[in-house]
Symmetry: C2
Subunit: 333 residues, 2 copies
């Protein structure tokens, strides 16, 4: 019940996801819609869906996210999708779900579009985390965020050895918070990922890393600034030169261009941003998500369940196969 586009958009996307695909190679996804039963029934009456795959669980408006997470806690759902406020989703997960072994604090990820593509699937985005679940993060948290992000990149983008960077004010360690410096030391010797160093926020869109790790305060600041680029540019530019006609024309074109950029920086096209650190797949979709975005989120959730991100995480934490290989190679023949 959390999306800004109302129940209709969520129901439309879910209804479509419950249908088998036209190519016939895939069954519909099994979906439970959690929320106001009557409102959902009314929306469903206007949609085509697979009644064997779609059911409804009644919940008060304010409790829909919580009830959906409880379904997962009871083992009755493998994934939860929410278009509601991030804080509400995070709070419900903290209350009802156990973090994975080795995770003290789960992390909210954001997928950020980049010029370079990532992994065998050529996904055109970088995963940035944490972006708001954990405003204060110590070195242990940052290392576990790196492993969670790398596990997601491995499982979802089929990226065997994800490049991981830590966000910093510069490549110079003296400008980095103490937690990042300590985390960097440990990531250098972590197998299954390639630690590529400290990276500045302005370089995130270049796609120099597949996973960029930081604390929730800095991460949230970065995504909001990048998402708000249009607003910032228009504000500054109009302040800079109000009088010139050429500027006015340029700004009008710019505005259209930046609307497209804004759309790109939204998460819709990628199905959602994961909250990582639980056995359950948790996806947050944009509040403005339309039916298509919800449909994409359902497909991403099904894919994430099948890809088993927690298993990829456990492997990254386990004995280091890649380093063992290196060691073997260095033994003289």
């Amino acid at each position: 019940m959390g999306g800004a586009k109302g129940t209709a958009a969520i129901v439309a996307g879910a209804a479509r996801a419950s249908l088998p695909t036209s190519s016939g190679d895939r069954q519909g996804i099994e979906i439970v819609l959690v929320g106001d039963e009557r409102a959902i029934a009314e929306c469903l009456s206007r949609e085509r869906y697979n009644p064997e795959r779609l059911s409804v669980l009644n919940a008060a408006r304010d409790e829909s996210v919580q009830e959906a997470v409880r379904l997962a806690a009871d083992g009755r759902a493998a994934a939860v999708i929410s278009a509601g406020p991030a804080a509400m989703t995070i709070a419900a997960c903290q209350r009802y779900l156990e973090p994975l072994a080795g995770v003290r604090r789960p992390a909210l990820g954001a997928v950020y579009p980049t010029a370079a593509t990532h992994g065998r699937r050529s996904d055109p985005f970088t995963l940035l985390l944490d972006v708001g679940a954990c405003p204060d993060a110590d070195a242990d948290d940052l290392v576990s965020f790196a492993l969670l992000g790398a596990a997601y990149a491995r499982a979802i983008s089929q990226n065997e050895v994800p490049r991981v960077a830590l966000l910093s004010a510069s490549a110079e360690p003296s400008a980095a918070p103490a937690a990042a410096v300590a985390a960097a030391e440990r990531l250098v010797t972590t197998a299954g990922l390639q630690y590529v160093g400290l990276i500045e926020a302005v370089d995130v869109p270049k796609g120099l890393a597949d996973v960029v790790v930081t604390d929730g305060f800095a991460g949230n600041t970065v995504i909001k600034l990048l998402d708000g680029v249009r607003e910032i540019v228009l504000g500054l530019a109009s302040y800079a030169q109000k009088e010139r006609l050429l500027w006015k024309i340029g700004l009008r074109m710019l505005s259209g261009a930046l609307s497209r950029v804004k759309q790109l920086t939204d998460w819709e096209e990628y199905g959602g941003a994961p909250l990582l650190g639980y056995q359950t797949v948790i996806l947050r979709t944009h509040a403005q998500s339309e039916g298509q975005a919800i449909h994409n989120a359902c497909r991403l959730a099904a894919k994430a369940v099948a890809a088993d991100v927690p298993k990829a995480f456990a492997e990254l934490r386990g004995p280091a196969p890649l380093r063992a290989e290196h060691a073997a190679q260095s033994i003289p023949a």
Copy 2:
């Protein structure tokens, strides 16, 4: 010796600042150029300057900032201006200068252009601090940054009760780092400034606050992202739609517009960014500073010395005159 435009730009700006102004209401500023004696002499031979106001102190290239700070430590200079790397200036000050009473860690400020103007002088910028001197800041640090920033706004922008905000991921305290939440509680009851709450980075250019306070990691991330807006937009936009002609034209116009924005976000026009927390006025100018920017920095430095920022800081820390007034007003007549 630290500027990217070479010794000539620095010498040209300083030479000009040593001359009396044409209106005759102000004498030239007394300046010591610290650096390679021969290189400076050669540049000076091409400039008009006041030899009674301008002298040279020989120093090796790598030691010029350090030697300039030592001049101040010895009481032979009231202000130091550097176009060199911020880290080097900060390190020299930490080594040779004593912080003011009540300041544990000095803060590097950045002046950021805003749509709204600030103070009686209608300065069109917000002071953001810390932006790199102190990557990790606790609540005590944030409160002292707020007082230092407010003192600067009072003394320089003639802004009697500066509006102070703390940077956060949202106006919601749960998204703020613990240090910011604790600092907020104390700033609410601080006299001589108006605490206006938690502010998001994307709102900094709106000018809702005169002083925005955060830790050095987040602050540096924000200014680098805002400075890098052009790069980010062009990168994303070209990635978004490479093929459309209209876009290409738009991007070309956009590029010019954003160059102007980039220029605006540079510190040159405002003379420099202060390193606050010392008796000595420390100004950092942009590495690309030309003569005009250095001249502006000299004037700003002289103004800051005259305005006595440390005194304004001591007043803010002292007994609270504004709150006392409020208390008096609330006594029934």
